[in-house]
Symmetry: C2
Subunit: 292 residues, 2 copies
Amino acid sequence: MTDIDEALKTRATQWFAKLRDEICAAFEACEDDVAAAGNPGGLEAGRFERTEWSRPAGEGAGSQGGGGVMSVLRGRVFEKAGVNISIVHGEFSEQFRAQIPGAAEDPRFWAAGVSLVAHPRSPRVPIAHMNTRMIVTTKGWFGGGGDLTPVFPDDADTADFHAAFRSACDTYDADYYPKYKKWCDEYFFLPHRDEPRGVGGIFYDNLDSGDWETDFAFTQDVGKAFRDIYPAIVRRHMDDGWSAEDTEKQLIKRGRYVEFNLIHDRGTKFGLMTGGNTEAILMSMPPLAAWP
Amino acid sequence: MTDIDEALKTRATQWFAKLRDEICAAFEACEDDVAAAGNPGGLEAGRFERTEWSRPAGEGAGSQGGGGVMSVLRGRVFEKAGVNISIVHGEFSEQFRAQIPGAAEDPRFWAAGVSLVAHPRSPRVPIAHMNTRMIVTTKGWFGGGGDLTPVFPDDADTADFHAAFRSACDTYDADYYPKYKKWCDEYFFLPHRDEPRGVGGIFYDNLDSGDWETDFAFTQDVGKAFRDIYPAIVRRHMDDGWSAEDTEKQLIKRGRYVEFNLIHDRGTKFGLMTGGNTEAILMSMPPLAAWP
């Protein structure tokens, strides 16, 4: 593997856990603060529950060791929100080596990251996804991003979500935002429906500018941007009521979310095919979805 | 293409439509006959609605022409049941030619078939799938099968479902049933969950014994076996009531069904990747599914 030292891996890993804690706190604060109209079922405020998983490293091609922590909130604002952190290591199997930078030379890898999907109960509150990760093979890089999937798109939400990521990007490189926004638009697209998953955001991968500190700072800023803007958007809408028709539209949109994640999402496919933790990977599935 | 003449294609196509009509009639009879306990919502008997789709043949690799008819029932016994017939032709794209018998020599193909998925409203009535098809490239063959996915497996149902297919198989070859049952068990399996989709049935493909008439007769008998046994199993349970807990289990089982179809099912992947009719292909999705 590359000479990225253990101290850097530790710093990245600690950051992913800290970001997880901050986002979980922001979500739980929404749970506490929702008004009666936004909680027609009269449910109690939800809290994240954590489950650790781990498995011993195997031997040879395709083996993976490591583990992670799933944090799941089943609440009144968030019908289901999952935030996973994981630190895994092992060897890529033959089929993956050619696709992964630096893995052809040496199949060993180390990877850590934080991954989040939020399925709000209210159809008026957008679904969101965020992920950031650090990968080490004979090369080392960061990847991540966030995207918003409203059932009822709202121009101000879309503009502010993008502005938050643009601000994180522009500090580092004026090319980042246009490039990563485009990547997001292309990636989160359902060709069989000929429709985008949502209103976009940013998506980046294989980021290795040659300056680890700067790339890590950028990755932190992407996480912070999401941590600040998404709960703010949730709060704009969480106190509003909604109709049964709104819910029907939400369930259909969630069905599209399922289609994207199971048919197209690289992370999901990669995880399931490399024997990742199924419960953690499929935490992204909505609590209820419809194909009427 | 092979010299299988148009008359044979027409006979197969007509059979698929006839089988569709007979199954639709059997399902509608269930809709008429359900007792009050099996229809707690007091819904009216459902009827199949048909939608034709077609598209002009394109040119060159990957092109497909033809069309089909979707028949969808949204009723009181069957919350959603879809029966599709299709007749398509065209050329396989480069990526598929190596995988399809006889397509490496000449990429042109013709295919017709009938495909069914039934999602009953009652968790006490098993989900079912059936498909039979005739394919022509430079070779010609039949494929198909049926499998049962109960939320609450019932030994008598499982035994009778298998016995029906065994009977269809044994008329032709004593090796068919054990071979096709095993194929079904291996095919309808969710490796990421380490669980079978349901209680099996039979699955066969590339059937070309050298005697088209016999293979066609077998394929008809497979369809007839399903046409007779599945509605009989539905009738055993459709008049029973169920609990909210039963429904919760049903929604989770349907989630697994979604996972299988979108992650593993060859027909679904093949259809979506070759630009098939998305609505027809995803007719197999349950009306509502849960990942709690």
